[in-house]
């Protein structure tokens, strides 16, 4: 993780990503991996990775109650409670109820791009990746711009996503188990329960009827 937020470490937030594809239009998409079985996961296991999917009343608890910090630790009670820290930020309906993208746009927060160099600026990439999905479910759109406002390319590439079209298999089960997009989404970025935020490109209705 490359950045540090000057307000509070609780603001260390946002977003994983899918993949940088390449312009190899002539190359056919690789078929899904034949035997890459979805991780077998019980709901209990999965919730370990998805703390932002807890009931609304349990989210943004003060540090002594959040299940992350040691409630007996001498410094725990001196930490700012997320509900206080987030109160002035734009709201969202999921995750920790903060619209972080909007907060950045509104300059409500001013995260440092580099931990050691306060003057370093992000290199924003305006590249959308669309991943088609079967059936009526809208296709997934991965916008690089919103992610590169927070993250360096090397945060995701090549460890989490190989920057090559067809080189990454991504499934909901993987994400839920904290892999691929789930490295961030569900932990510090909005969870998978916010389906619409990723499945955002509606299908052509006429094509669906065929």
């Amino acid at each position: 993780m490359k950045r540090l937020f000057p307000i509070t470490p609780a603001l260390l937030c946002l977003l994983g990503g899918l993949s940088i594809a390449v312009v190899e239009a002539a190359a056919p998409a690789d078929p899904p991996a034949k035997t890459e079985a979805a991780p077998a996961a019980s709901a209990a296991q999965v919730n370990t990775f998805n703390r932002l999917m807890t009931p609304k009343s349990d989210r943004n608890q003060p540090p002594p109650l959040d299940g992350i910090h040691d409630p007996e630790g001498p410094g725990t009670k001196t930490l700012q409670a997320p509900r206080d820290a987030f109160s002035a930020l734009p709201k969202s309906s999921g995750g920790n109820y903060v619209n972080w993208v909007q907060a950045l746009k509104d300059k409500a927060i001013n995260p440092r791009y580099d931990r050691l160099n306060p003057k370093e600026e992000p290199m924003i990439m305006e590249l959308d990746i669309v991943r088609e999905v079967k059936g009526f479910m809208p296709d997934v759109v991965y916008p690089h711009d919103r992610h590169t406002q927070w993250l360096d390319c090397s945060n995701c590439h090549p460890d989490i996503f190989v920057p090559q079209k067809g080189a990454n298999t991504i499934s909901m089960a993987q994400i839920l188990m904290g892999q691929k997009c789930g490295v961030c989404h569900g932990k510090v970025a909005f969870p998978v329960s916010e389906c619409r935020l990723c499945h955002s490109k509606k299908k052509d209705q006429a094509l669906l009827k065929k």
Partner: protein, 287 residues
């Protein structure tokens, strides 16, 4: 009372009584912990260089100034000063990191950069070829900022530096190469939308895709059910739908085992439809 409430009850009760101190006091408390209890502070005070000791003194001076300002009611100025003190403390902590930790950090960075440069160089080459093949866009339209030979040469230089133990210089060199590659990729791909088409090579691939979808939907639903507040009727309905989908899933597996993948796909599609129907009911914002 304790037994009746249980641990979660006790935590909730503690939460009701707990109130965060004012932000200034929170920051001051963290700073005091650094100055009075941290290993860095203790080590610098005992055996630190003159520069590190001066830095520690500066941190203390900023803390004292912040306290005075806060006590005088100058909250905004006090917050500014305490932030400066915390930043000073962070710098001190970084400067005081032992040689082992610095070396370990550099080694991790070196490995990350080597992998990154290889991946981005590969992507750059592929995109360059693809752009050259595009009508109206010759290879010259995106001038390579760095030639493949130059990349190889610099990577070899970096490896040699790392071999001599100068990881910092190696990383500086690799960072520069990586930045140039990323910058070139940005020039090629900016403002584009790239589509990963969904194509299946064989019915078996499509079956496996549906199987993954089933597994994903079922896991999401189980998780949502364990957390969401749903009334008894709703919960029963969801479980009925899930039961139907499981039956269909087993049927599909039997078909696939017999090599009847088209049939298995159709059955799994129905199973997934049952699960999709109850997503919103389980508190998921299903489109």
């Amino acid at each position: 009372m304790v037994c009746a409430l249980g641990l979660s009850g006790l935590l909730m009760a503690a939460g009701a009584a707990w109130a965060a101190p004012p932000p200034f006091e929170q920051k001051m408390s963290l700073l005091e912990r650094f100055l009075k209890q941290s290993a860095t502070s203790e080590q610098v005070g005992r055996e630190g260089s003159e520069a590190l000791r001066a830095s520690l003194e500066k941190t203390r001076a900023l803390r004292d100034e912040a306290r005075k300002l806060y006590d005088a009611g100058e909250t905004a100025m006090a917050m500014q000063r305490i932030d400066q003190a915390i930043q000073q403390a962070a710098r001190l902590s970084q400067s005081n990191a032992g040689p082992d930790k610095r070396s370990w950090n550099q080694q991790v960075r070196f490995e990350g950069l080597m992998a990154g440069v290889a991946a981005f160089a590969d992507a750059y080459q592929r995109n360059l070829s693809a752009l050259a093949a595009e009508p109206n866009r010759g290879q010259g339209s995106v001038p390579p900022p760095i030639s493949p030979a130059e990349i190889v040469q610099r990577v070899e230089q970096a490896q040699a530096l790392a071999g001599k133990g100068d990881l910092e210089a190696a990383n500086t060199l690799l960072t520069d190469v990586q930045n140039q590659l990323v910058s070139a990729l940005r020039g090629m791909l900016n403002h584009k939308t790239l589509v990963h088409e969904l194509k299946f090579a064989t019915p078996e691939h499509e079956y496996r895709y549906e199987l993954e979808r089933f597994s994903g939907l079922e896991t999401v639903l189980n998780m949502a059910l364990s957390r969401a507040t749903i009334d008894e009727n709703g919960r029963r309905f969801i479980q009925e739908q899930m039961e139907k989908s499981r039956t269909l899933h087993q049927e599909a597996e039997r078909s696939a085992a017999g090599g009847k993948f088209q049939e298995a796909i159709g059955t799994l599609e129905k199973a997934n439809e049952y699960l999709s129907r109850v997503m919103n009911m389980a508190g998921m914002g299903f489109p």
